[in-house]
Amino acid sequence: MKRLFGVFVNGLIVENPLFVIMIGLCSSMAVTTTVANGIGMGVALTFVLVMSELIISLFRNLIPESIRMPIFLIVIAAFTTIMDLEMKAYFPVLSKSMGVFIPLVVVNCIIMGRVEAFSSKQPVADSVVDGLGMGLGYTWVLIALAVVRELLGNGTLLGRQIMPSSFAPMIFLILPPGGFLVFALWMAASNDLRRKLLAGKKPEPTQDNCCTLRENGSAEKA
């Protein structure tokens, strides 16, 4: 139980996919102009990630090493399409505002990276928990980015006017350069916290064969 909890918490800060492993950045920049989009994208990715990790971990002994990549892609693409159809049918408003990003979940490096580095070698329970942790790690970052960008760039939160009408929205923050700036500031804060968390401990134990992390906080790409 304690081990599973460790795997779960891992994705939130210590091995956050966006701030530490630094994969799947393009979608995080593109959708975080509004909080609603950030939440939607986070939930969508978490669903696909958990399901893909579950299936691939279940079948990990039946996947030949040499054709593992195409098989991973088939599984990921199938779940993405399922989720796209379900969202279109039951959450049309969300599906509309997410637009092109949903099909792009297929090629989101976080899923491919976690499946390859983690669930193809780990038991089912660990894989599902890893998917949840990584998915939530991705989601909170999206929400954090979107709150700043929507509030200061548009004066609203979840579509509701928050700032007084005299406030002039900083449209710069909605545009891509503002996205990079907000991302960098949050990353600095998150990685400072990460350093403090790791300060007492030994350098990352490589118990999960995951991405090898260096002591100074930078990471190899998975």
Binding site: L62, I67, I74, A78, E86, Y90, G99, G153
Partner: protein, 345 residues
Amino acid sequence: MKRRQMIKLGLILAVYTIVGCVGLAFVYNSTSKTIAQRQEADLQAGLREVFPKATGFTPTDTVKSTNPNIVFDAAYTADGPSGSLGIAVKVHGPSYGGPTTLIVGVSTDGTITGVKVLENKDTPGLGANAESSTYYVDKATKTTFPGQFAGKKLTDGFVVKKDVIAITSATITSRSITNLVQVVGKAASEVLGIGGSSPSPSSQGPSAVLPSADTVRTSSKAATSSVPGVSILETSVGTKAGTIVGASAKAKAKSYDGEVTVLVGVSTDGTILGVQILECTDSQGSPILAPEFAQQFAGKKAGAPLEVGTNIDAVSGATFSSRGATALVKATADALVKALAGGGL
């Protein structure tokens, strides 16, 4: 051995693919009906929104788009209790971040009944405000961007930042939606038999800039400009029932790094009736040939200052050419006013 291995791997991959496909087929079957229903409901709701009083909608294929980039997906006649109320068109065309789909309603009395944005892929928070029901271009009256078209006459100019309020920081989205609405309006008005669509700017020659004249003849005395560098090439006079109602001139001058040629029509009371930018040889100047730029001059007083940035919008990317053309239009208009006042044309 190697061949057997390849076949084995191929078969394994095939099994995964088949299982995946079967799974998808089940999900597709269970959701496709709901999705189709939702899209149909969206369309019906959109049609109702632009024609709230209609009792039903009958598909029609008589409305044709005049622009190859703008596609009419479906067109309906709105049936009222006593005959047709107008035409509603589902239309899509290019915008900033991909195609935008609208429903546009055109009434038999020559006005736009309403515009509904069905799909828009432009920047969230900027262009996507076209779709938002809480983004107002006029906060006092709570008018949304598509909402401002309701009741608009087809004879209006449909020029963003002039008679259409733009979405802040989303001029391209605003323009493309306005353009879609105008194209639908024109096409529908032809089918409905309303003559009121705006004068076609594509026709060439002096009569195009002298819409109030019934005859246009070459002037017997050429207008001359006192502004150095401006050469007036041709002067024409427009008459209606024998009386002079205005004059037009083709003029040429140096612009940014080339030359610009314009055709300007001025009425006897000194109002600019119409302008065409005929040619611009500036290296980046071709955008000013767009009719939207020339349309801005119509209705301006020749005596009043014309300046890019104050009462004339530059075409982005061609500010210097816009300035050059504006200065030339001003000089030509002044010369025409002088010639009209002098008489003897």
